[in-house]
C-alpha cells in the first residue's frame, strides 16, 4: 500500500477497515433485498468505492457537512449513520432516517452532518457550496465536502459554484468519484480535456488520487481539511475508483458497455478492503482472527438490522401530507 501512516493511529486504521466492511456489507444486503423483491424501487450500489467515502469522512468531524448522491449509502455510513434507520429508509418504513419519505436516493442524516443524497446528478453541488458559505458566515470552522460522480462534471452548476467558492475562498472540498462510467457510458466519451484542469482553471488546487487506497485518500484529505479550516479552500479531488455492480441493482447484463475482465481486474487486484486488510496484517496492526471478528460483527449487525427493518411498520397514511411545510401539520387539511 503506497501511503505511509505517520499521523494515523492503529485505531483509526482499524476503524476505517470496519467502516469499509460496513459499507460493503450494507450494499450486499441491500442488493439481496432487491433480488428477493423485498425492496421497493431500484438502488445504486457503492461497493468498490468504499475507500473514497471512508478515507474522506474519517478526516471530518460530526459538525462538518457532506452532500451525497444517488449512490449514497457509502457516504451515509461513512459519515456515521446506523444500519437500522438506513435499512428502514430503504424499505420505506417509519423508523427510517426520513420516515420512509426519501428512500435510497434521498437518504439524509442531519444528526451526523449528512445533508442528503440527491437524485439530480450534480444537484447537491450548490447545496454543499452553500453550506461552506454558511460555515464562513457563521464564523465556524466547519468544512463541507461535496461528493459527486464523473458524470456530474457535465453539469454546468459545478462550474458556477466552483467559481464562487474560489472567489470567496470557501471551505469546500469537491470530491469527484471517477468510477469510469456514468450509467452505461464510459467517462472518456462524455468528458473532454481534463477534469482536474477544469477545476484548476478556476484557481482551485486540485489532486488526482487513487480512490482504492483508503490511507492515501485519508492522509490527503486530512491535510486539505486542515487548510480549508484555515481559509485556504476550496480544493478539488478526482478520486479514481470503480463500481463493482451495475449502474443500479437491475443493471445485470452489462457486457455491452463494460468488459467482465475489467471488473475482475478491479475486484481482485485493486479492492480497497483486501488492500487495507493486507496492510494491517503486514504491519501487524491486527491478526487475521481479529479482522475476521470485525467482519463477523458487522455481518451480524447488518443481518439484525435487515430483520428489524423488514418487520418495522410503514408510516401512517396520515403522514402523506405532513412535512410539506414546517409550520403546518397537515398541508391538505
Amino acid at each position: 500500500m503506497s501511503s505511509t501512516t505517520e499521523n494515523l493511529s492503529t485505531d483509526s486504521i482499524l476503524r476505517m477497515y470496519r467502516q469499509m466492511v460496513r459499507i460493503r456489507t450494507f450494499e450486499d444486503n441491500a442488493n439481496q433485498l432487491y433480488l428477493s423483491a423485498k425492496m421497493p424501487g431500484l438502488t445504486h450500489m457503492y461497493s468498490g468505492e468504499e475507500a473514497v467515502a471512508v478515507g474522506i469522512c474519517e478526516a471530518l468531524t460530526v459538525k462538518d457537512k457532506i452532500t451525497s448522491t444517488h449512490r449514497g449509502h457509502g457516504h451515509c455510513v461513512a459519515k456515521g449513520a446506523e444500519f437500522k434507520p438506513m435499512f428502514c429508509e430503504l424499505l420505506g418504513r417509519e423508523e427510517g432516517y426520513c420516515r420512509g419519505k426519501g428512500g435510497s436516493m434521498h437518504i439524509a442524516d442531519q444528526s451526523n452532518g449528512n445533508l442528503g443524497a440527491n437524485a439530480i446528478v450534480g444537484g447537491s453541488l450548490g447545496i454543499a457550496t452553500g453550506a461552506a458559505l454558511s460555515s464562513k458566515l457563521r464564523g465556524t470552522d466547519e468544512v463541507a465536502v461535496c461528493f459527486f460522480g464523473d458524470g456530474a462534471t457535465a453539469q454546468g452548476l459545478m462550474y458556477e459554484v466552483m467559481n464562487m467558492a474560489a472567489l470567496w475562498n470557501l471551505p469546500v472540498i469537491y470530491a469527484c468519484e471517477n468510477n469510469g462510467y456514468s450509467e452505461y457510458t464510459k467517462t472518456e466519451e462524455i468528458a473532454a480535456g481534463s477534469i482536474v484542469a477544469r477545476a484548476e482553471a478556476f484557481g482551485i488546487e486540485s489532486h488526482q488520487v487513487d480512490g482504492q487506497d483508503v490511507l492515501a485518500v485519508n492522509k490527503l484529505t486530512q491535510e486539505l481539511v486542515a487548510r480549508a479550516r484555515a481559509g485556504e479552500g476550496p480544493f478539488f479531488l478526482e478520486l479514481m475508483t470503480y463500481r463493482y455492480h451495475g449502474h443500479h441493482v437491475g443493471d445485470i447484463n452489462r457486457e455491452y458497455y463494460r468488459a467482465k475482465d475489467e471488473e475482475t481486474e478491479w475486484k481482485t487486484n485493486r479492492d480497497p478492503i483486501i488492500r487495507l486488510r493486507g496492510y494491517i496484517i503486514e504491519n501487524g496492526l491486527a491478526s487475521e482472527a481479529e479482522i475476521d471478528a470485525i467482519n463477523e460483527e458487522v455481518f451480524k449487525d447488518a443481518a439484525d438490522a435487515v430483520a428489524y427493518a423488514l418487520d418495522a411498520k410503514y408510516p401512517d397514511p396520515s403522514e402523506v401530507d405532513m412535512h410539506v411545510y414546517t409550520d403546518v401539520k397537515h398541508a391538505l387539511a
Binding site: R99, G100, G102, G103, M105, V121, Y184, I190, L332
Partner: protein, 331 residues
C-alpha cells in the same frame, strides 16, 4: 389487429420519421447503445448510426439548447429527457428560448423540435423521479403539449409532433411503457387538438389525461355496474386543447370530473374545469370536479405514494356522489 407496447410504438414512430426525413435526429443521455434506461430506443442507433442517435454527457440545459439551435438551422431534433422531473433543468432553454423564438423574430425563425420525456408516480422513485410537470409547460405560450394515453396515441402523437414546425413537449407515462395496445401496421398520425371520446355515456363525463385515461375507463366500468353511464374523454393534447368536444360532452351529461396526474393546485384540472364551468355553466348540475395528484412531493414509501394519485375507485366514488346530486368540493 396486432398489439405492441407503448415503448415499441415510440420506437416505431421515431424509426419511421427518421427514415422519412433525414433532418430528424435523436439527442440525449444513453440513447444510443443503451437505448435509454427504459430500452425504448433499442435498435435505432444500429439503423441510423451515431450521427442521428447522439449520446450526450449529463448536460440537460446544454443539449436542450443545442436542440434549439439545430432546430433553428434546418434540423428536427428529438431531444430525449430521461425523466420528466429534469425539465426543471431545461426550463430556460424551453420557455425563454424555444417557446419565444418564433414570436420574438416576428415569424422569421422556427424551432421545429420535440422534447420527449415522461411523467407518472407509483414507481417507488421518490420526489425527484416521479413528477408530472406538464401543467407548467402548458402555461407558457409557444410550446405545444401532448399526453399520449396508450401505445396507439404514443405513436400517432409523436409522429405529428416531429412533423410540427413548433416546439412540442410530449410526456409519456413511464409506467405504461410495457403496456400493449392495438397499433395498426399502416402509417398514421394523430392530429393535435382533437380529443378522443374513448367511451360514450350519458350520466357523467370523465375527462382524463395520459395515465388517468385508463383510470377513468376503469372507473366507468365500475360505474356501469351501478347503472351509471359514464362518457370518457382523452384530450390527447392540452396545448392545443379541444375545448369544443369537452364542452359538448359536459352540456350533454351535465356532470364532469377532470382527472390528471399532475398536482391538483394550479394544474391541468384547474384549467379544464374552469373552461367547462365557464362555457357549460348553465348546463351543469354541479361544478366540474377536479382530481389531480395530491399537493405533496411524491413520497418514496409505497404506503404513502399510492395515496397521492387518483384511482379508479376514487374517481367512481366521486362520480357516484355527483350523480346522487351530493354537493362535492375538490379534495
Amino acid at each position: 389487429m396486432r398489439q405492441i407496447t407503448l415503448s415499441q410504438a415510440v420506437n416505431e414512430a421515431l424509426a419511421e420519421e427518421m427514415r422519412r426525413d433525414e433532418t430528424v435526429f435523436i439527442i440525449g443521455e444513453d440513447v444510443a447503445e443503451a437505448g435509454t434506461p427504459f430500452k425504448i430506443l433499442s435498435g435505432l442507433v444500429e439503423e441510423f448510426g451515431t450521427n442521428r442517435v447522439i449520446d450526450t454527457p449529463i448536460s440537460e440545459p446544454g443539449f436542450m439548447g443545442m436542440g434549439v439551435g439545430a432546430a433553428m438551422t434546418g434540423m428536427r431534433p428529438v431531444v430525449d429527457l430521461m425523466f420528466g422531473d429534469f425539465i426543471f433543468l431545461v426550463m430556460d432553454q424551453l420557455c425563454n428560448q424555444a417557446a419565444k423564438t418564433h414570436y420574438m423574430s416576428g415569424g422569421k425563425l422556427n424551432v421545429p423540435m420535440v422534447l420527449r420525456t415522461n411523467l407518472g408516480a407509483t414507481r417507488r422513485s421518490a420526489a425527484q423521479h416521479s413528477q408530472s410537470l406538464h401543467a407548467i409547460v402548458a402555461h407558457i405560450p409557444g410550446v405545444k403539449v401532448a399526453l399520449p394515453s396508450s401505445a396507439y396515441e404514443a405513436k400517432g402523437l409523436l409522429k405529428t409532433a416531429i412533423r410540427d414546425d413548433n416546439p412540442v413537449v410530449i410526456f409519456e407515462d413511464k409506467l405504461m411503457y410495457q403496456d400493449k395496445a392495438e397499433v395498426p401496421e399502416e402509417e398514421y398520425c394523430i392530429p393535435f387538438g382533437v380529443a378522443n371520446v374513448k367511451r360514450e355515456g350519458t350520466d357523467i363525463t370523465l375527462i382524463g389525461t395520459s395515465s388517468m385515461v385508463q383510470v377513468c375507463e376503469a372507473a366507468a366500468k365500475l360505474l356501469e355496474a351501478d347503472g351509471i353511464s359514464a362518457e370518457v374523454i382523452d384530450p390527447r393534447t392540452i396545448v392545443p386543447l379541444d375545448e369544443k368536444t369537452l364542452i359538448e360532452s359536459a352540456k350533454k351529461t351535465s356532470r364532469v370530473i377532470v382527472v390528471d396526474e399532475g398536482h391538483q393546485s394550479f394544474g391541468v384540472t384547474s384549467e379544464i374545469a374552469s373552461r367547462i364551468n365557464e362555457k357549460a355553466f348553465y348546463y351543469l348540475d354541479a361544478p366540474a370536479v377536479r382530481m389531480g395528484a395530491m399537493d405533496v412531493p411524491i413520497p418514496f414509501s409505497p404506503a404513502l405514494e399510492d395515496i397521492t394519485v387518483p384511482t379508479a375507485e376514487g374517481v367512481a366514488e366521486k362520480a357516484r356522489k355527483l350523480v346522487r346530486g351530493e354537493l362535492i368540493h375538490a379534495a
